[in-house]
């Protein structure tokens, strides 16, 4: 197959793997290929990678496609072919330019829409549904969690700083201008002091939300490192303070760690939101003040037990904000034993977070 079509197929395949490859990137890539020796695998790989991939999380997907296309790349006949192309500079350049022209002409899709994608076809682990991921994929997602926490932390800090738009401290400015003959050389602004919010997180760690709770715990643990005022609690049908438990250890094992070391299982061992809320309110009521935001991570599947929504109403009246993060897509809410509707009136907002991208977006909104 001529180089032109081969590269073209390669780009198409990358897009199929949801790696966004734009036309200008294709042009850059072709331009770069003219500058290097194709016979060296490292150069070749590196050139394609640096021009086509702009995000490290795509590396695995890229490597797979690259392997598939260029594995036999160093076989004698191919090498000879590439070398022959190599030596005929003008023709090669024409050919490569043709590729990029062809690409522009085609107006190829950018692999963004992705509505017709088969489930599981998405290669970016962040976009995979919590319900469907395997243990192996969970590990790879969990590896991204600290990064995500850092991003969120940066966003929160920035938000706080932006709101501190200071007004002019007139008195101080005039006072200091006296020493420069009335010219206000230095402007002073009023500093605002804001109270730091306290965040209480309630996390369901039962089997029905296993993947979600693994990720949530890892995320909470990472966030705890950035915010000193986060307190976290885990529950199944008993609630327990796990703030200290998350301070050390491998994020992968947090769920097991919590299940072993915290008293989260009560009499029945089935998730019981009513009982949890009641207990939480009884034992930790004093922690909830006007400064407190309460975050609940769970699917609101209550195993047909008492919902205890009056407790949530009380918590809401006491706290600044109450947010609920539900790992199920909206279509599954209130089906079976899900009673999210009962709680909805007492939350400032309920988010559907079926995957990590959504979870991050939701968290960024609060």
């Amino acid at each position: 197959m001529p180089v032109l079509q081969y590269l073209q197929a390669f780009f198409a395949d990358l897009r199929e793997q949801e790696i966004p490859v734009s036309t200008s990137q294709v042009r850059d890539c072709c331009q770069a290929l003219l500058l290097i020796d194709w016979a060296n695998r490292d150069y070749f790989y590196s050139t394609l990678f640096t021009t086509l991939v702009k995000d490290y999380s795509y590396q695995k997907a890229f490597d797979e496609v690259f392997e598939r296309f260029f594995n036999e790349y160093l076989s004698p006949e191919n090498r000879q072919y590439f070398q022959s192309v190599n030596s005929e500079q003008p023709s090669r350049s024409r050919e490569v330019t043709a590729v990029s022209d062809y690409d522009i002409g085609m107006g190829t899709p950018m692999g963004k829409g992705g509505t017709a994608q088969a489930p599981g076809g998405k290669k970016n682990p962040l976009q995979q549904d919590f319900g469907r991921i395997s243990a192996e994929e969970l590990t790879s997602i969990e590896a991204m969690v600290p990064l995500l926490a850092r991003r969120l932390a940066a966003k929160f800090v920035k938000k706080r700083k932006r709101n501190d738009q200071n007004r002019l401290d007139f008195r101080r400015t005039i006072r200091s201008s006296l020493s420069t003959g009335g010219i206000p050389l230095n402007l002073y602004t009023v500093r605002k002091y804001r109270e730091k919010p306290v965040i209480l997180i309630l996390c369901d760690v039962s089997g029905s939300v296993m993947n979600f709770s693994c990720i949530s715990l890892a995320l909470i643990a990472s966030l705890e490192r950035f915010f000193q005022y986060i307190e976290s609690y885990a529950f199944i049908d008993e609630v327990s303070d796990i703030t200290g438990l998350l301070l050390s250890g491998n994020p992968l094992n947090f769920r097991g760690h919590v299940l072993r070391n915290a008293r989260v299982v009560g009499v029945t061992g089935y998730t019981n939101y009513g009982r949890t809320l009641e207990q939480f309110h009884q034992r930790f009521r004093h922690r909830i003040t006007r400064k407190t935001s309460v975050l609940i991570f769970g699917d609101a599947r209550n195993n047909w037990q008492e919902n205890g929504k009056w407790v949530l109403a009380q918590i809401k009246s006491q706290a600044k904000k109450v947010y609920w993060f539900n790992p199920e897509p909206v279509s599954q809410w209130n089906t079976g034993d899900s009673i999210i509707n009962d709680y909805m009136p007492y939350c400032d907002k309920v988010f559907a977070c079926p995957n990590l991208v959504e979870l991050e977006k939701s968290l960024a909104k609060i």
């Binding site: 150069y43 990678f49 640096t50 021009t51 991003r151 940066a154 966003k155 491998n250």
Partner: protein, 291 residues
């Protein structure tokens, strides 16, 4: 010797060891005149790569350290308004026309050039390092985008300043936030990870010329183990260099349990991390750091 090997050799002489992949990106950046976006964990030598590149090309390095709240006044240019005020005071009773005064105070003399403007107006090409780009706001990033594609800056009072020589641009990011697609597309992408044990050994021996190879190997190995643990801040390359140097100063030939405990503070900087490592070392009495 092809271009990449030449680049590798030059970088080595500038004190930076890079592999074929990094050399390829650097070579392409030079040949295609495109900015390079360098990402990777803290302490893998993202900033150093630009510094070494400026040495290789023998071009002045202009560095813009980004931080939250960095604005155009700090990055591009600013009118020296204190001097302008003083100037107005000084000419107050000299009977100059308003127009004349205005022309005076909006001339080059009163313009403070900040790094970005400096790199554009410079007489020779420069290496522009925009460090930790992920710390700035979206608005600033958008402005930067214009600069990186057109290499020109518009100053309302003076006009458009176009670059005489396009600078070589390096952007570094710790990925504390997602950069815009448009910015990423404009750049060549380079992801730097911690080096392999072998490469770290080479780096140590390059940076500390009289370091015995056996000690370099041992330090590289232990540091690699440390990075595998869940530490608050895994040791950077600079820290492993510091560690090896301090061992050499102390006259140690080998890295054993006692020495490690004594010098741990040079390589991990957080109290929690130190306690954690001490616990593991006391438990195992060796340096394998099993979980």
């Amino acid at each position: 010797m092809d271009n990449m090997q030449i680049m590798k050799g030059k970088m080595l002489r500038a004190g930076y060891i890079c592999d074929d992949k990094v050399a390829t990106v650097l070579y392409l950046a030079g040949a295609m005149k495109k900015p390079v976006l360098v990402e990777g964990p803290a302490g893998v030598g993202k900033t150093a790569i630009a510094q070494a590149f400026s040495q290789v090309t023998q071009l002045p390095l202009i560095r813009l350290q980004c931080y939250e709240g960095l604005d155009e006044a700090k990055a591009l240019y600013e009118w020296n308004y204190k001097r302008q005020l003083l100037h107005i005071q000084a000419v107050a009773n000299k009977n100059l026309s308003v127009q004349q005064v205005e022309e005076d105070i909006f001339s080059d003399n009163f313009l403070l050039t900040r790094p970005l403007l400096k790199s554009i107006t410079s007489d020779s090409p420069t290496v522009l390092l925009i460090d930790e780009i992920d710390k700035v706001d979206f608005e600033f990033e958008a402005m930067l985008l214009e600069l990186l594609s057109e290499f020109q800056i518009t100053i309302p009072e003076i006009g458009t300043v176009r670059a005489q020589h396009q600078p070589f641009v390096f952007l570094t990011s710790n990925a504390t936030r997602e950069l815009s697609e448009a910015l990423k597309r404009r750049c060549l992408y380079l992801y730097l990870d911690f080096p392999s044990k072998e490469m770290e050994k080479q780096i140590l021996m390059l940076k500390i010329p009289n370091l015995p190879p056996s000690l370099a190997e041992k330090v590289a190995q232990v540091v690699r183990q440390l990075r595998g643990l869940e530490l608050k801040k895994p040791p950077s390359i600079a820290e492993s260099i510091d560690w090896a140097a301090s061992l050499l100063w102390l006259g140690k030939e080998d890295l054993d349990v006692e020495t490690t405990l004594q010098t741990l503070t040079t390589v991990v900087k957080y109290r929690e991390d130190q306690e954690k490592l001490e616990r593991i070392i006391y438990r195992d009495r060796d340096l394998n750091f099993r979980a």
